[in-house]
């Protein structure tokens, strides 16, 4: 272990920095890095290189090549650059390559060099050309900041939701700033720029001059500035070789350092670790790399080759033609364990485990020592944590072995932290592999989350590995395996050399009924690649018919969409398709389509009933649905038409339709109504009052009530009102008029077809007992008892009932016997009953 700390370099008293190799690069670079535009995505992302012919102003005719490599130097894409001059390259958070052209157009490419889209940064940028551009990351996504030839800034904080913002002018700015950067504070993007000895902060509203506190005097120009990964810190490099480090808000100075090198550095980036107190900046010149922090001495490295720095969350990646290294502050746990002569519990535990393997009793001594201090738990935790920060699997293993060993002597140590670390490391080692080339550190991995990592694997088309990881981590299918399979399928449909059948089958075989897989999404992708047939085949696998519809509509398979929509049972969906069809087809075809789909038809009818009455009529016409057409006209006859003529005409149309529908009853009834309507109109003219819209019955009643008996009779004859009805009608009307004389006359006009009980009833209703009694005598024998009871003649009722020897009648009378007055009657009945029983 003596050599383990060999690559540790102390900075000041409390911190060590180490640099180790991630990969030895065997990319076959044709150009020097310094001749290229370089962009490397954070979180171990891909590297893009574009030889920059425009800067050198030589052979512009030679088209440059855009090359994309994985972090381990494996080529991912290579394409001939055919567009305009590029000023800057950068990766978005979704690992899309943004290429900012001189004319302000930003071209977006995928990881595999596939063109995605482009957008412009606005007219102002187009006119003044792009002088410089930066791609930066905020919590909203990835932004682009542009410095134009007019020395104005334009930025968009999120290229996914492009909103261009033109920053205010810097007063008196004649030349380009010596350096500038984007800051992100309080969720707003600012620009910090240096002009000579002055610093300006640009926000949306204003430009303000700022001065870093405690800045050494004598500065006449700022050569370089750097913001930390989290936008919390800022470093400034001045022309005096002096470095100021402080908070990005420029309110506080952290430390300063004078390196005495006046040459402008090539790159300056922060190198710090989350939750660490140490602040350090890495400055790179042509052949020199310097780590400076809050210490009088700096750490210096010699650079053998052209190198490029990539700031990361917890360190700096440095790559060159032949190597790819990682420089970071040694994490606390590692430091405690591996520091020379460390007596930290973790260090002792590691030692104990080694002795144990050597079968030496020293193991016991070490262990006791830890236990005596009661630090075994802490020791195990330290070992687990340190294992996470190790890059080499053998070191990870020995630390985990130590932790596992220590765990044996602990009663209740929760196993999950250990298990999770083992799993995480397994995943990390897998993706750090040269072939995969995502050199994430443990902290970066945790920050990125497994979900995003899976996305990135999918983006690199590393489906099997992604699925293996999901299965290994037992992620729920919807988030894990099925999502990846869906992505795979979307990729698969783009393989144009495979036939539709094969693709569809292959996809279905792999995906089956995996929950969470949306076949419609895959089909949409297939359609996007122009493979309509394949899309339809894929849609057949979609279990939710509702999901099939929108795409089918888009592919102009409207009829298929309609039947699918109906299958789904979702009426809204059906309606959507209907409206689509209505616009797409001519009226006749549309109606024909409806005709075969009763559910859709009734839905559309409902809509028309309220919104498009004429269409409804056309629909019925088209279908030869004369019955409904008749109903339609009937409704129109009283809802839509005001004038009698109009109403009669509507009724005539209705009658015609009913005849066609062979509904003679309805036709006749309608014709009667036409007759009645005309007649009512005449009555109104001749007699005054309101007749129109009354029913036949009410019309006659009104006539009787108005004393127009003759007319009433005539009407009854004309419309063949049955006798019974007429009698009921007259009876009621005359009683209402309390025209007892007329009523009596009427009752004697001929034999009542409804009997005379109703006469009794109606008189009693009007509380005219006298009149009622008159009719009670005429009531037929079956109803006599009832009639007598109605007029209150209990005694006589009893007599009749006894005479009839009808048990039910007797009971009925008995129930009417109340109080003392009827006692005699009750007696009589009881006696009669008894007699009847005797017999």
């Amino acid at each position: 272990m003596d050599c383990y700390t060999a690559n540790w370099n102390p900075l000041g008293d409390s911190a060590f920095y180490r640099k180790y190799e991630l990969y030895s690069m065997d990319w076959d670079l044709k150009e020097e890095l310094r001749d290229c535009l370089v962009a490397a995505a954070p979180y171990g992302g891909p590297i893009a290189l574009l030889r920059n012919p425009w800067r050198k102003e030589k052979a512009a005719s030679v088209r440059p090549v855009l090359e994309i490599y994985s972090a381990s130097g494996l080529p991912l894409a290579s394409l001939l650059w055919k567009s305009g001059p590029v000023v800057s390259l950068g990766w978005s958070a979704e690992e899309e390559l943004l290429c900012v052209q001189e004319d302000g157009v930003v071209l977006v490419y995928g990881l595999h060099g596939d063109f995605r889209r482009h957008f412009s940064m606005g007219n102002e940028v187009l006119q003044n050309r792009v002088l410089d551009a930066r791609i930066f990351h905020t919590e909203f996504g990835s932004g682009v900041a542009i410095l134009t030839g007019a020395h104005r800034f334009t930025l968009s904080a999120n290229v996914g939701d492009l909103k261009l913002r033109r920053m205010p002018e810097v007063p008196g700015l004649q030349s380009a700033p010596s350096c500038w950067t984007t800051l992100c504070q309080d969720r707003v993007a600012h620009i910090l720029l240096a002009v000579g000895p002055d610093l300006y902060l640009l926000d949306h509203a204003a430009c303000s001059a700022v001065t870093p506190p405690g800045l050494a005097p004598g500065v006449s120009s700022f050569l370089q500035m750097a913001v930390s990964f989290t936008y919390r810190h800022l470093a400034l490099f001045t022309d005096t070789g002096y470095i100021w480090m402080g908070t990005a808000s420029l309110k506080e100075k952290l430390c300063e350092f004078n390196c005495n090198i006046r040459a402008p550095p090539k790159q300056m980036v922060w190198c710090s670790r989350p939750r660490s107190k140490e602040r350090a900046v890495v400055v790179a010149w042509e052949r020199r790399l310097m780590v400076v922090g809050d210490a009088p001495e700096s750490i210096q490295f010699v650079l053998d080759e052209d190198s490029y720095l990539v700031p990361e969350l917890d360190g700096v990646r440095i790559f060159s033609r032949s190597t790819h290294e990682f420089l970071h502050e040694v994490p606390v746990a590692s430091e405690e364990i591996f520091k020379i002569a460390s007596m930290a519990p973790g260090a002792l535990l590691l030692e104990a485990q080694k002795e144990y393997e050597k079968e030496s009793q020293k193991a016991d001594e070490y262990l006791r020592e830890i236990q005596e201090l009661g630090q075994l738990t802490q020791a195990v935790q330290q070992c687990i944590e340190a294992a996470g920060h190790e890059h080499r699997p053998d070191m990870q293993k020995s630390l985990l072995r130590a932790a596992s060993f220590g765990k044996c002597f602990l009663d209740r140590f929760p196993p999950d932290s250990f298990v999770r670390m083992c799993q995480d490391l397994r995943v990390l080692n897998a993706i750090r592999d040269y072939h995969i080339g995502i050199p994430l550190t443990y902290s970066q991995y945790k920050q990125l989350t497994i979900q995003v990592l899976l996305d990135r694997l999918v983006l690199r088309r590393l489906y099997p590995l992604a699925i293996q990881i999901c299965e290994y981590l037992r992620l729920p299918e919807v988030q894990g395996v099925s999502r990846i399979l869906a992505h795979w399928a979307c990729y698969k449909v783009q393989q144009k050399d495979v036939s539709d059948e094969d693709v569809a089958r292959a996809i279905n075989q792999k995906l089956g009924d995996t929950p969470g897989v949306s076949y419609s999404d895959i089909a949409a992708r297939a359609y996007g690649c122009g493979r309509t047939e394949l899309a339809i085949k894929l849609l057949e696998y979609e279990p939710r018919s509702g999901e099939q519809v929108p795409l089918l509509l888009k592919m102009k398979r409207s009829k298929l969409a309609l039947s699918k929509a109906i299958e789904s049972g979702d009426t809204d969906l059906v309606f959507t398709v209907l409206l689509h069809l209505k616009n797409e087809l001519n009226r006749g075809d549309f109606f024909m389509t409806l005709r075969n789909q009763p559910m859709a038809l009734s839905l559309y009818r409902q809509f028309c009933k309220h919104q498009e009455l004429e269409t409804l009529k056309d629909l019925y016409n088209q279908d030869d649905n004369h019955q409904e057409l008749g109903s339609f006209h009937i409704r129109a006859s009283y809802a839509a038409e005001e004038r009698i003529e109009g109403r009669v005409a509507a009724l005539q149309s209705a009658a015609d339709a009913f005849y066609k529908a062979k509904n003679e009853f309805a036709a006749k009834a309608t014709e009667d109504q036409m007759r009645l309507l005309r007649l009512q109109r005449r009555l109104e003219d001749e007699l005054g009052g309101r007749f129109v819209d009354l029913s036949l019955h009410d019309t006659v009643t009104t006539l009787v009530l108005g004393g127009h008996s003759k007319r009433a009779e005539q009407l009854a004859r004309d419309f063949r009102i049955p006798d019974k009805r007429l009698w009921w009608l007259k009876l009621t009307a005359l009683a209402d008029l309390e025209d007892w004389e007329e009523l009596e006359k009427f009752s004697k006009s001929k034999k009542s077809p409804i009997g005379y009980l109703p006469f009794v009833e109606i008189c009693m209703k009007q509380h005219n007992k006298y009149e009622a009694k008159k009719y009670a005598s005429r009531v037929g024998p079956e109803q006599k008892v009832k009639a007598l009871l109605l007029v209150g003649d209990v005694a006589q009722a009893a007599d009749v009932a006894i005479e009839h020897r009808n048990e039910a009648e007797l009971t009925l009378v008995l129930s009417h016997c109340t109080g003392a007055t009827d006692a005699a009657t009750a007696d009589k009945i009881q006696r009669a009953r008894a007699q009847a029983q005797k017999k």
Partner: protein, 617 residues
């Protein structure tokens, strides 16, 4: 009186959660429009809304004034207008006219439409056509289940009946499926499902689809409700068409229960004000009489009154301490009971006045004759007379439908003459009513085969009306026996009565119709629950014309506790009546089940007929 539940009867789930959910969602929606706003509420939604969030809650969330959505221009001065409506095209036009009027006046306000229970594409279409889609923001208040009582959930969608069973509009099926889905997420999956009817089948399938799409959530849960039985209203129209004689049903038929409460007019309250009374299990007096046959109710109430008096009388001879106790603890309860008692006695009196008249008895007699299938001619003339005398049009229609269904359609002669009489009595627009009724299968013509009718119509042209009638009768006797009769026989719906049916101690569910008829719907439920499937009921299903439409879906694995297996939810698509509820409550007490009722709306014969009636606007 009111029968207690068996001691092993399961507890009902707590449905108040549904109210809380609906309230929270509504508040959230109101808060989406911060600041003062005027709320326009559709009339149909007012009562349900009142059960969820009263005015003071609305005011708390900055609702300034409340308006009813009606066909009048509104005079609101607020800068923000919020509309709470059912998804109907009519309402959209109302909103659009309001917005367009503002536009003409150069006024800009914020408009928000909240659709309950969901929004329909057609509505948005109308807004678009009227050119206001961009001015209005739309939201959904997924309030589809209102607990009206501890065992009764209503979707408060009376239009469901007409929309589906008449217009063939399937738009509410999704709402039903969503509501069922909500219940299964809240109260666990339903291990055993049965159903009958086309709409039922579609709703069920859609519901299953929803569950599949979101599975995992309900999987691990223990079911709280062991069985669910879904039923289309058109499977059993007969029961819904009968006059109700159980107290709760009678109150509904007489005074119209609306959203679980009823407005008792001056004739009941015997004062000049009307009184709104909430009818549910919390009303102790009502709870004891709701399921009783009306003939028992009055006796019970007077007994109750005597008891109450005795309680009051205890006052006498109390010392001061006892009196203090009495006043502080019992008096309030007694007063409350007193108040309720007087309300129900008033209601009873009012019902008696209306219903114990001869007319009503005759009516019931006719109904029973129709159900039992004797004296058809007599019943037909009774109906005719009812029409001739211009009795209530709804009542006449109801009797005609009852006749038609029990007889498998009217014989052509009656069909024509009754319709003619009806048109003469109540107006020609009812031609459309008849067309509706025919489409819904409620009032049809017997079809002894088309050839026969053709022959008959030719014959009737040649001979006099009377002769034609005889011929028709002869023809119709050739027609097969009515389905209803056959079902009635198979399921023993008409109990054989030996002597008087004692309505005080009911023997079977027939008591809800004075012992004359066991509700078909309830009998079906009973039979299926007994068999745990439709097995052995094939003939009945065939007679109901539901061959492909009856299903059983029973899960084998038995995670359900025996307690939950005795909890049964019955879903009525198209509405259920209080008589059916009472009958099933009775069945539950007999068998140790508890029933939960889910209905698109509480209905009765009048509501069904009104839904089919065409009225002049």
């Amino acid at each position: 009186m009111a029968f207690p539940h068996r001691p092993d009867a399961p507890e009902l789930p707590d449905f108040s959660m549904l109210k809380r959910l609906a309230r929270d969602q509504l508040i959230y929606l109101l808060e989406q429009l911060p600041g003062k706003k005027d709320l326009f509420i559709e009339a149909d939604l007012m009562s349900p809304l009142d059960r969820i969030a009263n005015v003071s809650i609305l005011k708390q969330h900055e609702v300034d004034k409340l308006y009813k959505v009606e066909n009048k221009p509104a005079v609101s001065s607020s800068e923000q207008l919020c509309f709470l409506v059912r998804p109907r095209i009519k309402n959209m036009r109302y909103v659009a006219s309001l917005v367009n009027a503002d536009k003409l006046a150069g006024r800009t306000r914020k408009y928000k439409v909240i659709f309950s229970p969901q929004k329909f594409h057609a509505c948005e279409m109308v807004l678009e056509e009227e050119g206001v889609y961009g001015d209005v923001s739309c939201d959904e208040w997924a309030f589809s289940l209102l607990p009206l009582d501890v065992d009764l959930l209503s979707m408060e969608l009376p239009e469901f009946f007409r929309d589906y069973f008449l217009e063939g509009d399937q738009r509410w099926i999704n709402t039903v499926a969503q509501a069922l889905h909500l219940l299964s997420t809240l109260y666990g999956p339903f291990p055993n499902c049965y159903g009958i009817g086309r709409c039922t089948k579609m709703s069920y399938e859609l519901w299953r689809k929803l569950e599949e799409e979101e599975d995992g959530e309900t999987k691990g849960r223990r079911p709280e409700i062991g069985h669910v039985f879904l039923l289309d209203r058109d499977v059993d129209f007969v029961t819904a068409l009968c006059s109700q004689v159980v107290y709760e049903g009678l109150v509904d038929d007489t005074f119209r229960v609306k959203c679980g409460s009823v407005d008792f007019g001056p004739e009941v309250t015997s004062s000049d004000r009307s009184l709104k009374v909430l009818l549910n299990a919390e009303d102790k007096v009502f709870n004891e009489i709701r399921n009783e046959h009306f003939s028992n109710v009055f006796g019970f109430l007077s007994q109750k009154a005597r008891n109450l008096q005795a309680q009051y009388d205890r006052r006498r001879g109390m010392d001061i301490k006892q009196m203090k106790n009495f006043v502080s603890q019992e008096l309030k309860g007694l007063k409350q009971e007193h108040r309720l008692l007087s309300v129900h006695i008033g209601a009873c009196e009012s019902i008696m006045k209306k219903k114990t008249k001869q007319d009503f008895q005759e009516l019931i007699k006719t109904e029973h004759a129709l159900l039992e299938g004797f004296n058809i001619r007599e019943s037909t003339s009774y109906i005719e007379e009812h029409i001739d005398r211009q009795g209530s049009p709804i009542e006449s229609l109801r009797l005609m439908c009852l006749l038609s269904i029990t007889e498998n359609g009217l014989i052509p002669k009656d069909y024509r003459s009754l319709k003619t009489q009806y048109l003469q009595s109540y107006g020609p627009e009812h031609l459309l009513t008849f067309s509706n009724l025919r489409r819904a299968g409620l009032l049809t013509e017997q079809a002894p085969g088309d050839t026969l009718t053709a022959v008959e119509s030719k014959v009737s042209k040649l001979v006099t009306d009377k002769a034609a009638g005889k011929i028709t009768d002869a023809f119709s006797s050739l027609a097969k026996r009515s389905n209803f009769r056959a079902i009635s026989k198979k399921l023993n719906l008409i109990p054989r009565v030996d002597g008087e049916y004692d309505l005080k101690v009911p023997r079977d569910m027939a008591y809800v119709f004075s012992g004359a008829y066991v509700p078909l719907s309830c009998r079906l439920i009973e039979q299926v629950l007994e068999r745990r499937s439709w097995q052995g009921l094939d003939e009945v299903v065939r007679l109901l014309n539901c061959n492909e439409l009856a299903f059983t879906d029973v899960t084998k694995e038995d995670k359900a506790s025996s307690e939950s297996l005795r909890l049964i939810m019955v879903v009525f698509l198209g509405g259920c009546t209080f008589s059916e509820i009472s009958a099933l409550r009775f069945l539950g007490r007999e068998k140790g089940y508890r029933f939960i009722f889910l209905t698109t709306a509480v209905t009765n014969s009048a509501r069904l007929m009104e839904a089919m009636s065409e009225v002049k606007a």
